[in-house]
Symmetry: D2
Subunit: 416 residues, 4 copies
């Protein structure tokens, strides 16, 4: 169809914007026409948005619909020395971490923290758990029914049954175990799945829903009625801050820790080890607890947001990752021990947004793109890199805030 | 300096990546050289990242440091009819909302929700409060001292004093009032500030810190010793999920609501009004509460993340916005009442990331860029638009999940 | 009626146990007959339960129904030196605090803590706030209606209106101010009331319900429809652990603090000031936060339960009081600063269980029974005494736990 | 020694009140002398307190120290029809439940709820879990060490090791399994123990502490240093409201449910099934969630406090039990389904306060005193009885509040 005509039909409402791909001759052109339509309708320009490297033929439906172009977020980076289970920097090797942000001083802050850490021997990381979850919500007739289902589901037989059903619907994900919760008639079955290199929410949802459907059919045949109320019962919990993710873990549960030498502290910061310890207590624990916060840290959300956007992660999942616990201790020799425990770091190196152009480039540059091996080692490496960056951000901000009284200009950031 | 030489010095560590702007002849070129350095060091390509519309001379320090290019996030949009206090669509006018995302079906989901809402007469929005907060953390010698300070700070005289001191350090922000909390020796003073069109975190921090410094000096002169422990005591709370933001509000507290006609529900969804109500209860309240979640909704984080990235908001602040409360009721006539209450929607249309190229374009296209008037009406409009999109997302996902038993393929999304 | 006959009719179900007062010739005898009925029916003895000092003519309906006797809880005591706003021990004067408990070592624990405190100069206490709350839950037609009501209620005129209506229904309580919250159609009005010497829940409920009824009528006359859904909307919050009580305070918000001399620590405990500080951080903040607890202390619930039962307080309200924040700091000279902040200590010295025989005796012995003056000073004194006992319990248990490695037998308690 | 002389020495401080048992010729007399001392010192009477059935020779140290008498709490009762796993009322048999309270209308409230339940066929109860927990807090040198310990402790070998060590220190408790949590250097080992008929906190503490001590010694021999920081790390969590107890359960996790017939609702209450459902949603979920409460119910704390005092339970543990979830649904035929889920009901029928005179009498009368069998069936029965009473209380208060608009006098309670 003629482009002018399409735009005219969009203006009049005769054609809907999601319906023009064929007429436009593909998504790339459709995106252009939608921009023109919006420009005309809202009397505005969308030039820069149109300057895009995104392949919309590939992205449509997989990553976006009604596409018009792309938003561009400035990128910076930092380099951190990591001794993890999967990332093992040797000598003065470092890992590069990318941050996409519009928050001034954030990249500088991570760099200064990284510099102090690097000078003290680097970050140690440890993955504690790596399972993605989804809770299916069932309604039963009574607690006696929900208890029977819980009994079956937790039995050896039940577990085998669900694993088998689950495996029919995904070739990558592997059901590890299920947890169950009931209030009486309501029953939540939480599937815990090894999703390899993928973050895996989609495969977990499909596998869990179908395994539960099969279970319900099987139970019905045995005379026990139960009904699926929702394929997500908010006990997963995805993209909502929740204690269950802290207590049980979700995605990757990981610790990053470092010991900052006494002399490095005074070289890089205007604070002492003791003042950083006292601030961690007063701010991250007294303050956060008085405020009813699940997050006991200074700026974890900043680092997660910046790395998630850079690496094609789901930025909504920083909501789960932010509930991170800082720990600070002054060692007998005056050095500073600092650690972050991130119970729910939900990332992947395969699928979702990792496929997009700039995101893929950055994952590759950090050496963590793709399916990796059967353990999903690329994903675990990415988690270690992000956790190290989180630690660097915490060290720097705590030290900066603890040093405020001494600083002439607290907004000035001394960089690494 | 010669480009090759700079890269060589970066490789050898002789020069630091943040230090090359001058030698490179500006940030644009520095970004290029940093890319080359990273490409060489990590044996990888950064072509697409380098394809950027960002003006790094302008962005450096304001939005990013050690810049190398930009991350590109695909963009889609939706159009929603809004009757708010500030956005007042007339007739079949709609507001356009942009979503930057890599999550497939998200844009489609908001579109379907918007279509059902538009067909039912649109969204009503109401801003309940618009104040940004920062908590300064003080240490006193005893509860008797902290009580005295609290007494002064809450007195007419104290309020006047702090307002005056605050006003010296920002021309835009206006101190509305302070809240105080003490545990004995620790004292948290929370500044509540009208930040006009800006999200305003920075101006609030500067004003609050300096007003408190002045206060501490004044008290010292009166013989009362107190010490600032931190310019942020985590009772603000910024970028951490917290009950205090739900109870007190932070940024913009806003409600969006709609009444969906009975026949529209059956046209667009495979669920009934009753099943949507029951799911909201079982999932968003029973499920979320059992999980210890502060968020009582289905996918608010998705819509916030996508709009925040599109509009140059701070994506780390979706952590505060996500704690949204859905409410669903079946009306006597069978129609569906649905609302979202977002206690802490922290946005701005001026400063921060709003200045960047694509972000500014999208704000302008939605009619909400810039300083606006003395009330910051552009910001309030943006909040209304985002709240409306959040409501559309909730309606659609709740209806989709409630309808799952009837759907042959739950992954198929019927669009608007 | 003949006693045997009454019991026979109770056995056969012809007469109900709550219905026999008249026939039995009063509550005292009714209690006896109910015991006999239960003894016969359940083939069991209720002798000791029948050995009671309670005057059931007075207690029936006011404190209990279907009375049969009383439960007896063993009583111990401790003596603590207090320098508060209301309790002002001079010289080596002390206040006596009573504890009713069946938990071995609890009374001893408070005594050892008190001994260390007394030897260091006693406890300082400070009442920060004293208002009881009740939230009435309304349903409106839209957020525009709920906003209008909120606007009125918070206006000078609205406040005056509610204060006047409130005052019609209670002679003791005085409405201080209201807070409001809305999600759209749902509206919560929280009444904050000065209840003088009474804990005051009942008077607050009656006043709030009636003031809201009047408000609803007034609004209806102005064409604005709203409906009371419940006289308690769980945003009060009574007898449920909740952040709102921590953030806003409920009943009495109070701090008790003490500085324990370095040498006193080593005399009484097997722990150092530093180890107590480190334990407070690791246990009360790291541990409690990882567990998702609102309470950041060691054994506050024990002391509250024991004092509440002794003094005729409502023991269900320890649920609100338990959310107490311990703070520990090592002073420059090596002494230990320790404080407890109890945001919601809901007590009274008049009405409710304070009227009962043993409870009244103990209140009198501690010098805090009755209506007191117009400020309710007896209640404020009781709060100071309980807070001091709470502090003693915290000091002792933290010190005991911190010293465990050194102790041969951790179950042995070295007493004051 | 001469009584007058002892009192004189107490007055002068020469003798301490905990030190007079021998001189007084036993605890009974010591209690009397302490009363006299207090009466003299505080110029007050303690007659009624002295009128006690408590055998202080037996109670001293086991239940109380520095004893002076007892507090008396009025007792009422209710009778409820229960069909549980352990309590199995047949025909119109009922179980009797005792309530010790000073809150007027509470006993009446449970009675009216019970009457409506009994008329509808009674309560169904189901015990979901019965394990008491204690968390030992360890400090390690690094996350690598804490991970190694976690690995061992969760291995088959480690579990066997701990079970064996645990079993050396208690003849009743049996270690079921351990959970582990680490933040890096801090490690929490949570022992989950079957405590049979006892509530069991003491035996769990002794077993867990000693098993962990043995573990630490064993690890040290293998070159891995770890230190016990505290025998309780607040991840148990005892007597503090916490999500971990809701998610993992503590003590007894139990559901009680009932279906109230439509006609019974109108006979007993002024509310409809629909209004009770809507109130449960608006009050217990919207209200509680907005308030940041862990408890989603109306008055569970009241019923727990009253039964705990009557039956010699630890009243401080109502703090854990109160976090109960009400669920209400209108059945297709108009009947009302109502349930309570109590994740952490910490009770026992042996040891602790159950040994005291009136408490023992009441446990016996309800048929649940003592060690019971090897499963601790008496304890499980007690839990079923208390859960049934909790349900009755919830039904009645929700119905009363839902019916308020219709009631002329909401303070009037229509009884069973």
């Amino acid at each position: 169809m003629d482009e002018e005509k399409i735009i005219e039909e969009l203006m009049s409402g005769k054609t809907k914007p999601y319906n023009i791909s064929k007429a436009a001759g593909g998504e790339k052109n459709a995106a252009k026409l939608r921009r023109k339509y919006l420009e005309k309708k809202y009397k505005s320009k969308l030039d820069k948005v149109g300057n895009t490297v995104v392949d919309f033929e590939d992205a449509e439906n997989r990553n976006v619909e009604l596409s018009i172009g792309s938003a561009q977020v400035p990128l910076g980076f930092a380099e951190i020395m990591i001794t993890g289970e999967y990332v093992k920097n040797k000598g003065d090797e470092k890992s590069v971490v990318f941050l996409a942000t519009t928050e001034g001083k954030l990249v500088a802050s991570v760099n200064r923290g990284a510099a102090a850490i690097n000078k003290s021997g680097g970050v140690r990381t440890k993955v504690l758990r790596a399972l993605m979850t989804r809770s299916i919500l069932l309604e039963c007739e009574s607690v006696s029914d929900s208890s029977r289902i819980m009994g079956f589901v937790r039995s050896g037989e039940g577990e085998k049954y669900l694993k088998n059903e689950f495996s029919k619907h995904t070739k990558h994900g592997q059901l590890d175990h299920v947890d169950t919760y009931t209030t009486g008639r309501l029953l939540f079955i939480v599937y815990n799945v090894d999703t390899k290199a993928a973050m895996g929410m989609n495969m977990v949802t499909i596998g869990s829903t179908n395994a539960t459907k099969a279970l319900v059919e099987k139970l019905k045949a045995e005379g026990l009625k139960a009904k699926i109320l929702s394929e997500s019962g908010n006990m997963c919990v995805d993209k909502k801050p929740a204690m269950i993710n802290i207590i049980r873990g979700r995605g990757i549960s990981i610790v990053a820790e470092a010991v900052i030498k006494k002399e490095v502290i005074s070289e890089y910061f205007r604070a002492s080890a003791e003042s950083i310890r006292d601030l961690n207590y007063a701010k991250n624990y007294m303050g956060s607890s008085l405020a009813g916060s699940l997050a006991h840290n200074a700026q974890v959300a900043n680092v997660l947001a910046a790395t998630f956007i850079a690496y094609g992660q789901d930025p909504a999942q920083i909501v789960d990752g932010v509930n991170t616990f800082d720990d600070v201790k002054v060692m007998p020799n005056g050095d500073l021990y600092i650690s972050v425990y991130i119970p729910a770091l939900e990332v992947g190196t395969y699928g979702g947004g990792t496929r997009r152009e700039t995101q893929q480039e950055l994952l590759r540059c950090s050496g963590v793109y793709g399916e990796g091996d059967s353990k999903g080692v690329t994903k675990l490496k990415l988690a270690e890199i992000i956790a190290a960056a989180v630690l660097a951000g915490e060290l720097n901000l705590l030290a900066a805030q603890a040093g405020m009284e001494l600083s002439r200009s607290h907004s000035e950031v001394k960089r690494g």
